[in-house]
């Protein structure tokens, strides 16, 4: 099947504003206030105003609807709006929807954001006692925490690919090193491999330091047309392209029921992404892989074709491995359903990361690989 080249599209989108409130264990305000402040901060970063905004997209799991946020901020009219589902899979697809609205002239200035009091607000799984749909065959056995669902996949990958504990520990230690250079990161204490290996098991084979943080956070992002971006006093991060995918028999987190155990939705996203962008892994200078859990990093390099299946841990040790999760990511900076990874991808294009890759032309950001998901490429130059 041949696809129309995206370069034939008449308008390109660019990220021109990003802003994060300080990450914390208790942000001390509602998600709607934090989200509103994050959006205002992102607009200020772009040099734009609320009156410029004409579209909003959000995560389904964002508790403040785009209509409520538009009312709070006083937006005159949303010419386009929508939500993307599936938790940590929603980040790149939400930004992709914003870019699509711009590319197709539905809107000129699009706001998206993620505000979540995931620390002070408590663990969502604690109160989900009525198991509906797929959950009725999982939750009664305490497959309720994200780590529970992930552990069963991880056992499969460890046995299939021969991963060692140190293979996963390398991810945790590396991202902690990145976080130590990032003043915004919540976890900045040094972490050694011994620290990782001696952290307690949560759901075997996954340990505490395989897991992301639990964070109160609010991050806003503003996109506009490439043409308008050039008139603003910012370095645009051009949206070169994106892809989405679910794979077969997808139940999110616990997709054990299809024929091929352990094959993630990201394997379906990757060909869409590379086709859509006209790029390949060799064109990517820095990556932010969704990292609720350490296994998602070696798998990410495999899924997106940086190395062959099963070679992820070896690739992580090789000089060919690009810088990844440069803010510290979900493991050591903050866990915001991957929205911090998206703004870090923008920072890499701007050249303002605290673990900056050299000469970044294209930055890849992915969303959760074990849920319906997507990925996006931000670039220094327009199409």
């Amino acid at each position: 099947m041949t696809r129309p080249a995206r370069v034939a599209r008449h308008r390109q989108a660019a990220v021109v504003g990003i802003h994060a409130l300080p990450f914390s264990k208790n942000i001390g305000m509602t998600e709607r206030r934090a989200g509103g402040l994050a959006i205002l901060g992102a607009l200020a970063d772009a040099g734009l105003a609320v009156r410029d905004v004409d579209a909003m997209y959000r995560f389904v799991w964002e508790n403040t609807t785009e209509m409520e946020m538009a009312r709070i901020l006083g937006i005159e009219n949303l010419r386009a709006f929508g939500e993307v589902d599936y938790g940590g899979g929603a980040g790149a697809p939400t930004v992709a929807h914003a870019a699509l609205a711009i590319e197709n002239s539905l809107a000129d200035v699009v706001v998206t954001w993620r505000a979540r009091n995931r620390s002070s607000g408590g663990r969502p799984w604690v109160s989900q006692m009525h198991a509906v749909g797929q959950d009725q065959f999982e939750r009664p056995y305490h497959i309720v925490r994200p780590v529970d669902g992930m552990a069963l996949h991880t056992r499969f990958w460890i046995e299939k690919y021969g991963w060692t504990p140190e293979d996963l520990g390398r991810v945790a230690v590396t991202q902690r090193e990145h976080a130590r250079r990032n003043p915004a990161a919540l976890m900045r204490k040094p972490m050694t491999m011994d620290d990782y290996l001696s952290s307690r098991l949560i759901a075997d084979p996954l340990r505490l330091f395989d897991c992301c943080l639990e964070t109160d956070a609010a991050i806003g992002m503003v996109l506009t047309t490439a043409e308008r971006a050039r008139d603003l006093d910012v370095t645009p991060a051009y949206v070169t392209g994106f892809g989405m995918g679910s794979g077969p028999q997808m139940t999110a987190m616990t997709f054990y029921y299809g024929e091929a155990l352990g094959v993630t939705p990201s394997r379906y996203v990757a060909p869409e992404l590379w086709s859509n962008t006209g790029l390949g892994p060799k064109d990517i200078d820095v990556v932010q892989f969704y990292d609720a859990f350490t296994p998602q990093i070696p798998l990410g390099f495999e899924e997106y074709g940086f190395c062959a299946e099963g070679e992820g841990p070896a690739f992580l040790r090789s000089s060919a491995c690009p810088l990844y999760n440069t803010s510290g990511g979900g493991l050591s900076e903050a866990y915001v359903h991957g929205f911090n990874l998206l703004v870090e991808g923008v920072r890499q294009v701007r050249g303002t990361s605290t673990t900056q890759a050299a000469n970044v032309r294209h930055a890849l950001v992915t969303s959760g690989n074990v849920v319906p998901t997507g990925a996006i490429v931000f670039s220094k130059e327009p199409w």
């Binding site: 006692m129 009725q136 065959f137 996949h153 759901a203 084979p205 054990y256």
Partner: protein
């Protein structure tokens, strides 16, 4: 099924598509859907065959025999109702029919084993047999090592 939500365990919300499964569990039977047209085994419950799109796959009793496809040992922090059970093993079992289900590792009498699985020698590929374990009034399919 007289499920008791007051005990703090997650309770299945049964609907028309899943009622025959839970009815089977009440009788000590594991029922899986099989398409009457293309004979595909289907899990989880659904109103239409995902292989050939024929409506109303047929609920069919199976033995529950299978092998361990993956497993985990659950440890704190858990929901409060599970706190006294940890550590315990949850198995992902591939039935001989090819579909995969979750369930506790239980002993021959259907009681949940308080274990990290090492004493029992749990590993992928081990054959398992079906047992039912009642939790908060819900008869849950579970597995014991064969």
């Amino acid at each position: 099924m007289k499920a008791d939500p007051s005990l703090g365990f997650p309770i299945p919300v049964v609907d028309q598509d899943t009622q025959p499964f839970w009815d089977g569990c009440e009788r000590g039977e594991l029922r899986i859907q099989r398409c009457g047209a293309c004979a595909a085994w289907l899990w989880q419950p659904r109103p239409i065959c995902s292989s050939c799109q024929t409506p109303d796959p047929v609920w069919t009793r199976v033995t529950g025999d299978g092998v361990v496809a993956s497993w985990t040992v659950l440890r704190p922090p858990t929901l409060p109702a599970f706190a006294s059970m940890v550590p315990f093993v949850v198995l992902l079992v591939t039935l001989d029919e090819g579909v995969r289900l979750l369930g506790y590792l239980v002993d021959g009498a259907g009681q949940v084993c308080q274990t990290d699985g090492s004493a029992e020698g749990v590993r992928t590929g081990r054959r398992v047999r079906l047992r039912f374990h009642e939790q908060a009034g819900v008869p849950l399919p579970c597995w014991t090592l064969a």
